[in-house]
């Protein structure tokens, strides 16, 4: 009698333990199962013909300061900044600490320091965004410190830091780096086949890249592509296009999807505007802001490999993307770059051009020799614009359609200057060519 009771009690204990063990396994196993699903999702995403976000949001110029001079470098066979980002993905980067702020003298010294490579974003991003782009967990949770330059010393073995610098408020952050080697970066620098001597100068409206000598730049040609309005409406409206209302006025076509979405396509200028009145949520973080912008551009265009984030205005929730060729931005005949996206409580707006660089073609034009930047400032002064009037200055490519072949465009380098909030090429400000005689 007592013995059988002991067996029942023993069995009960075993059964309880087994149930606990099994429950534990199921818990952990479900987690594994869900992780498996995540991998699945990411692999199908990769299968779509997408250019990764860390290519669209990446530094566009790389400046190398050897022991004497600063050089803007580029490798036309391999994008240096994207390769450096790949290298940095394996680094362990600690959380950045503020070193200095609003100290122009210190800032100038930092961005001119020797044996240093710096990668420059066209617009400031946050440390959290950098953590996301590099898939770096310790940076991902960072508070939103803004920066647009990453500086890495390649020679000084005692300086195990990278510096993040912000042109807007001269803030400098320092982040300790582990598991990093400068060797692969030095190798990339040596492979550069475009090398222009520059000097970074602090002026009233920020940091300006001065080309010390006249610069010789190649001309490029591209086959351009565009889409029919119908392809945009299918992509932008829900696939059901039954409720579509169309109207036309002097080559301006308007497509309305009920009261909620509208696409206006101007066939004269090939500019399109899409408004989505259902998209009323405004991004809460900088990262979400950029992610949503990125999702919108890959939905608009099949080929975004040349597209880069050019300007992110967090206050106005306004993003501008531009196409780049060999590290220089392309200025088209529009004021907004290639794509402009704006989020607001009333809905989101997308402005874009129906002309995308698709396939590079050998150019039959000779290289262009541009004046040095000091000469350009002199030229501007001659027509009454003081250096303090100049809000921004950049070497960029001008979009020139060929008259006999409208499918091919030539891209010619020139200086672009922003005065009073308007970008114009140098010759339009001064009536004088930016090319060296």
């Amino acid at each position: 009698m007592k013995f059988s009771r002991l067996i029942v009690q023993l069995l009960l204990v075993v059964a309880v333990i087994t149930s606990i063990v099994l429950s534990f396994f199921i818990w952990t196993n479900t987690a594994r199962y869900q992780r498996g699903q995540n991998i699945d999702v990411s692999s199908t995403e990769a299968n779509k013909n997408e250019i990764p976000m860390n290519q669209v949001i990446s530094p566009t110029s790389v400046i190398w300061h050897d022991s004497t001079d600063q050089h803007l470098i580029y490798n036309s066979n391999e994008n240096i900044s994207i390769s450096i980002q790949k290298i940095m993905q394996d680094w362990k980067i600690n959380s950045p600490k503020l070193v200095s702020k609003k100290n122009g003298a210190y800032y100038q010294k930092l961005i001119q320091s020797k044996d240093t490579i710096q990668m420059v974003y066209p617009t400031a991003i946050t440390t959290g965004t950098l953590g996301y782009l590099l898939d770096n967990n310790s940076l991902k949770n960072e508070k939103s410190d803004q920066f647009n330059r990453i500086l890495i010393n390649l020679k000084n073995k005692n300086d195990q830091n990278i510096y993040l610098a912000n042109d807007n408020n001269y803030a400098v952050y320092k982040a300790k780096v582990k598991n990093a080697s400068s060797e692969p970066i030095t190798k990339l620098v040596k492979k550069a086949n475009i090398n222009l001597r520059v000097r970074l100068n602090l002026m009233k409206h920020g940091v300006f890249t001065f080309y010390v000598d006249p610069i010789k730049l190649k001309t490029y040609s591209y086959v351009i592509s565009g889409k029919q309005d119908g392809e945009y409406t299918t992509a932008l409206f829900d696939s059901n296009t039954n409720g579509l209302v169309t109207s036309e006025d002097n080559g301006v076509y308007t497509y309305n999807y009920g009261e909620s979405k509208r696409l206006v396509s101007d066939h004269n200028t090939e500019e399109l505007t899409f408004e989505d009145y259902t998209d009323t949520s405004v991004p809460k973080t900088q990262l979400a802001f950029l992610q949503r912008g990125y999702q919108k551009i890959i939905n608009l265009q099949n080929s975004v490999s040349n597209l880069r984030l050019y300007n992110a205005n967090w206050k106005e929730k306004d993003l501008v993307f531009r196409e780049y060729v060999e590290g220089f931005p392309i200025f088209k005949k529009s004021q907004f770059g290639s794509i402009r996206i704006k989020f607001s409580r009333k809905g989101s707006t997308e402005h874009f051009l129906n002309k995308v660089l698709e396939v590079p073609v050998p150019s039959d034009q000779a290289s262009t020799r541009l004046k040095s930047t000091t000469e350009i400032f002199k030229g501007l002064q001659n027509v009454g614009y003081s250096p303090n009037d100049v809000q921004a200055l950049e070497v960029g490519y001008q979009w020139e359609s060929e008259t006999d072949n409208e499918k091919v465009v030539d891209l010619k380098p020139t200086y672009y200057i922003k005065i009073d909030g308007h970008w114009k090429p140098y010759d339009e400000w001064t009536n004088e060519s930016a090319e060296e005689e």
Binding site: N29, N49, N75, V223, V359, P362
Partner: protein, 271 residues
Amino acid sequence: MDFKRIEVIFLIVFFSLDIFLFLSFRNSQQLVSSTSTNTSTVAEMRKRNISFGSLDTKTGYAYYLGSRPDESLAQNVQKLRNQKAEYEDVNHSLTSTLSNPIAITSADKIKIMDKFIKKESNVLFGKEYKYSPQLSTKSQIIYVENKSHGQIYDKTAQLAFTVSDGEVVSYTQTYVKSMIILHERQTIKSEKDVITNLYANSEIPNNSKITYANLAYTKLLEAKDSTIYIPVWFVTIKNKDSKVVTTKKVNAFTGNIIKSSTNGDNNYSAQ
């Protein structure tokens, strides 16, 4: 005494709970194996009797390449001996009939032709070409140009021997002298991406064999007197029942399937 009864009831309840937990644990494990990414597609393909070797998952880099028209063949045609060669300006191609046809068997044809093309008086720039079993047929032996960036599978850079009654009687040659890189390197789709994508798009029938999957440059378009080449995956599929062989082409940059049957004549919209 009641306490003992409670113990027995508890034992039964926990025992059935254990059985339930054990079963659900097994189920969830099966779910894991069925969701594990592309391997499941590969397993599904094997189940449908599609045979292929191991698939490379490595994604590499490739370029947009461009070439200018070149008259090297026309300029050197006088170097050829024992053949009647004619140069055609429009296609920049050289067609030649051999004075002494070369006897070959299927066993030794590659060895014989490899030796033949190495000599400059037989074939111009022959050393720059490589035999391509994927493009060759019974009546044609195809050699493709082998450049530093990779092979070119295209009618603008090819050496095609015509075989008739076990003899090589003539050949047609096109030649690209040099290629320039037009754009910085870009990542390309891996072999596995391409083949699973073809399968997902119903381009690979059941009961077939993937005989070749090669990456090569092919002509995309002509613009401004230049020819532009892009990397393309050439996947050859042989139907095990009908023995019909088809070659599918996939743009290695975008992963899009190029819908055209003839090699090298795809137009721009095929991108």
